[in-house]
């Protein structure tokens, strides 16, 4: 049986649409991370202890006065809070320029069973006094 060009094209199109869909679904499954507030994190951990040591992101503000930097070993320790729960964070590396003890941060990392979030990445949002970078 000979297929018409239209049918062949539809088949090709279906393959493209299918692979886009597949790549997206598997991408989300493999790389998706929960984005939680400290309050949500503490509830999640209480419900499901296996969530310890799972990669995730936490958005919160830095608790004022808790930032300690050890420049020589490039270690940064601080606490984050959303008003309902607090977590200590440890991060090795260079924090962004905008990081200080009065910013909103997004911490990417894992909560270990000692109750500390070991961050692999810290992103800081600019303070509210100035609008941040318009475009990037």
């Amino acid at each position: 049986m000979k297929m018409s060009a239209g049918a062949k094209f539809a088949l090709g199109a279906l393959m493209i649409v299918g692979s886009v869909g597949y790549l997206m679904a598997s991408g989300i499954k493999q790389t998706g991370q929960y984005f939680l507030t400290p309050g949500e994190l503490s509830r999640k951990i209480a419900d499901d202890p296996s969530f310890y040591n799972t990669g995730m992101k936490v958005g919160a503000h830095v608790v004022r006065g808790t930032v300690s930097r050890d420049v020589a070993s490039q270690t940064l320790r601080f606490q984050i809070s959303d008003g309902t729960a607090n977590y200590p964070v440890v991060f090795h590396g260079l924090p962004p320029d905008t990081f200080n003890d009065s910013v909103e941060v997004v911490v990417e990392g894992r909560l270990k069973s000692d109750g500390v979030i070991y961050a692999t990445n810290v992103l800081a949002k600019c303070g509210s006094r100035y609008e941040a970078v318009p475009k990037a």
Binding site: A5, A13, L23, Q33, D97, Y130, P134
Partner: protein, 672 residues
């Protein structure tokens, strides 16, 4: 001057409303007097907006810190270059800039539209005026750049140091110009729908405009990458941040349109698809503005949340409903004039190219909105980051790159086997050869290898096209090679300019692939100490920290580390990287410290050194050394793309395609 500014905004607002009403009415009733009034209203609106811009610049240059915007974004010690660009540093000023440029483009559309396309103009005026009215309304209601403070500060807050970079002076306006000029093709699309003149003529009217906005978006994207690379100091140029994605999305759909429009011109197919792409691209550009303004998606770049975002949301939803309702009602007028004849035809490859472009755009949109979507569906936010975008888009991008080479080689309608053999022999050999070469020198990573292989194939197709075209002219007209090449390009600007763009895209892809081999090392060094980093090419770099110097410069205090670089023991140069603390007029610190990256760039690799900080009071420095292969090519690839775009756009040359004739030929064949 703020009174003048606010007054000008009000005048412009009333003119926009008037232009919208009179424009639509004039088109609908076909009344010459109304059409003329609408046209004049657009010119007058541009005059009013230019006055408002003048008023804001006046306030900026005169340091009128009683004006909130001036106080928020400038200071007395800000270099004059950045005082000027503070016009679009903040939200309110950007809105002003938007509306002004829109009214300028609206006026240019009146002046530059060819006489035979003037029938669309009243509706175009109506659409442009409506969009402008919205922007001015947002300013007047929620974000007036001329708002005054209750007191007058002695000095302003100054401009965020990260914006004090030459890239930031040119990058936002380029991106805005791209976004804004997209309104003109959109307006023509709506005009074509309203006037029911849906033959291919309206496409000819917008061809240049779509190229203009595509070109500005491309320049804006490359400049944005450059700015992020040299200023932000994280070691890369693209992070798949929502704000970046928002700019990429309309670029993707516009690029798809620039290809599929050729099918409509040649074969009268894809009319519905093309209209949807034009409308969709414009909606995406508005959505981009909404995402960046509203803070609904957490982004490092996001603005403080403000009510402005919700104006945009309402406008976006309203515009989407209005445009697609109109579109749906006109669907019966958009039937294709011919059908796909073969899978092995240029049409088919263009269709696949379009599907891939839209597929990529969809995945980027989906990934960007995923936190909102997952929260709505499951109650918890799930985010996806660069790994998701890379995982999805590397295969799709490679498929697209392959089509870049395949498309131009395949004949329209139906390609024959000998034709395919003649066209593909050399390029395929080149691609396979390049991959074998990489295997021999020890490369084992699949996607960079495929990128180089497919890239070589595409470049070979481009060279083959140029060589064949030049030879043909040489034989036919006896022209010398150089003259034949120049005339070949000059007489077929669209085709050969397009090939140049393709070559630039290959360069970009290969440069992107280079980032797979990025290496990063952090070290805390005392003066005299060194760090050793192995480069992906096998060289050993030794970075020696020579010492810290501190000095004042312009509006900042600089702490600079000087690094000596040795490659395999041989000295290749010095690099400095700075930590800058910006200060106000009284020498007090403002903003957080910012970083000036030390970059040593050559075609093979970039050495990228960031000073993280200095251990209290000593000269011990925390440094990050990054080696980024092939970054140099991102900027030059971007330039090639822009050059190709300019060749395509250059006025004159390409005669308008005679669609009727093409359609006639097609029908003859179909009847056999």
């Amino acid at each position: 001057m703020t009174i003048l500014g606010t007054l000008a905004l009000w005048v412009a607002f009333l003119l926009a409303i008037f232009g919208a009403v009179v424009g639509f009415l004039g088109g609908w009733k076909d009344r010459a007097d109304l059409k003329r009034s609408a046209r004049n209203a657009v010119f007058a609106m541009f005059g009013a907006m230019a006055t408002a811009v003048f008023a804001l610049e006046w306030a900026l240059f005169h340091h009128d810190f009683n004006v909130e915007y001036v106080a928020a974004y400038t200071s007395r010690n800000l270099p004059i270059f950045y005082t000027w660009s503070a016009l679009y540093a903040g939200q309110k000023g950007s809105l002003l800039f938007w509306a002004t440029v829109l009214s300028l483009f609206g006026s240019l559309a009146q002046l530059l539209t060819a006489p035979r396309h003037r029938v669309y103009l009243p509706y175009v005026t109506g659409v442009v005026s409506t969009v402008a009215a919205f922007f001015i309304l947002v300013m007047l209601a929620a974000a007036n750049p001329f708002d005054r403070l209750a007191y007058t500060p002695l000095d302003g807050g100054g401009l965020n140091p990260q914006l004090q970079n030459p890239g930031m002076v040119f990058h936002p306006p380029m991106l805005y110009l791209g976004y804004i000029s997209m309104t003109i093709p959109f307006a023509f699309a709506i005009a074509a729908l309203l006037s029911r003149r849906l033959d291919s003529d309206w496409l000819v009217a917008i061809r240049k405009w779509t190229l203009v906005s595509w070109l500005f978006l491309s320049i804006g994207l490359v400049l944005g990458m450059w700015w992020a690379y040299v200023e932000l100091g994280w070691g890369g140029y693209w992070a798949w941040d929502p704000v970046e994605n928002a700019a990429l999305l309309p670029w993707l759909t516009m690029t798809a349109f620039l290809h599929s429009v050729m099918i409509q011109e040649k074969r009268g197919m894809l009319k519905k698809w093309n209209l949807a792409l034009v409308i969709g691209s414009w909606l995406l550009s508005i959505m981009g503005t909404f995402i960046t303004r509203s803070g609904v998606i957490s982004s490092v770049h996001s603005f403080t949340q403000s009510s402005v975002g919700y104006y945009f949301l309402v406008f976006l939803v309203g515009a989407a409903i209005a445009s697609f309702t109109l579109y749906a009602r006109r669907l019966p007028l958009l039937e294709a004039e011919s059908r796909l004849e073969s899978m092995v035809s240029r049409e088919a490859t263009f269709l696949f190219n379009n599907l891939l472009f839209v597929g990529i755009a969809f995945s980027v949109l989906w990934g960007t909105l995923f936190p909102i979507l997952s929260e709505a569906v499951e109650g918890t936010k799930v985010t996806v980051g660069p790994p998701f975008f890379n995982q999805v888009n590397i295969p799709l991008g490679l498929g697209l790159l392959a089509l870049t080479g395949i498309g131009p080689l395949i004949a329209w309608r139906r390609a024959s086997l000998p034709n395919l053999r003649r066209q593909f022999a050399v390029p395929v050999t080149a691609g396979v050869f390049a991959m074998l070469l990489l295997l021999v020198i020890g490369m084992r990573d699949l996607s960079p290898m495929l990128t180089v292989g497919i890239g070589s194939f595409v470049v070979a197709t481009v060279i083959q096209e140029f060589v064949r075209g030049t030879r043909a002219r040489h034989r036919q007209y006896g022209e010398a090679t150089a003259l034949a090449l120049a005339r070949l390009v000059a007489r077929n600007r669209r085709r050969y300019g397009g090939y140049v763009v393709h070559a630039g895209i290959v360069v970009l892809f290969i440069a992107f692939a280079g980032m797979a081999f990025k290496t990063e090392t952090e070290a805390t060094l005392r003066p005299g100490e060194s760090a050793t980093v192995k480069s992906p090419y096998g060289w050993t770099y030794t970075f020696t920290h020579l010492g810290i110097s501190q000095y004042d410069q312009l509006n900042r205090q600089v702490t600079a580390a000087t690094i000596e670089i040795r490659r395999n023991g041989k000295r290749v140069g010095l690099l400095t990287t700075e930590k800058r603390q910006h200060v106000d007029g009284l020498g007090r610190p403002t903003f957080q410290p910012s970083t000036a990256v030390g970059i040593r760039s050559d075609p093979l690799e970039d050495l990228y050194v960031v000073l993280g900080g200095v251990v209290n009071g000593t000269e011990q420095a925390v440094l990050r050394f990054t080696i980024n292969p092939l970054v140099w090519w991102v900027w030059y690839g971007g330039m090639i793309v822009v050059l190709g775009g300019l060749i395509v756009m250059w006025p004159g040359g390409t005669p308008a395609v005679k669609r009727t004739q093409a359609g006639y030929a097609v029908r003859l064949v179909a009847e056999k």
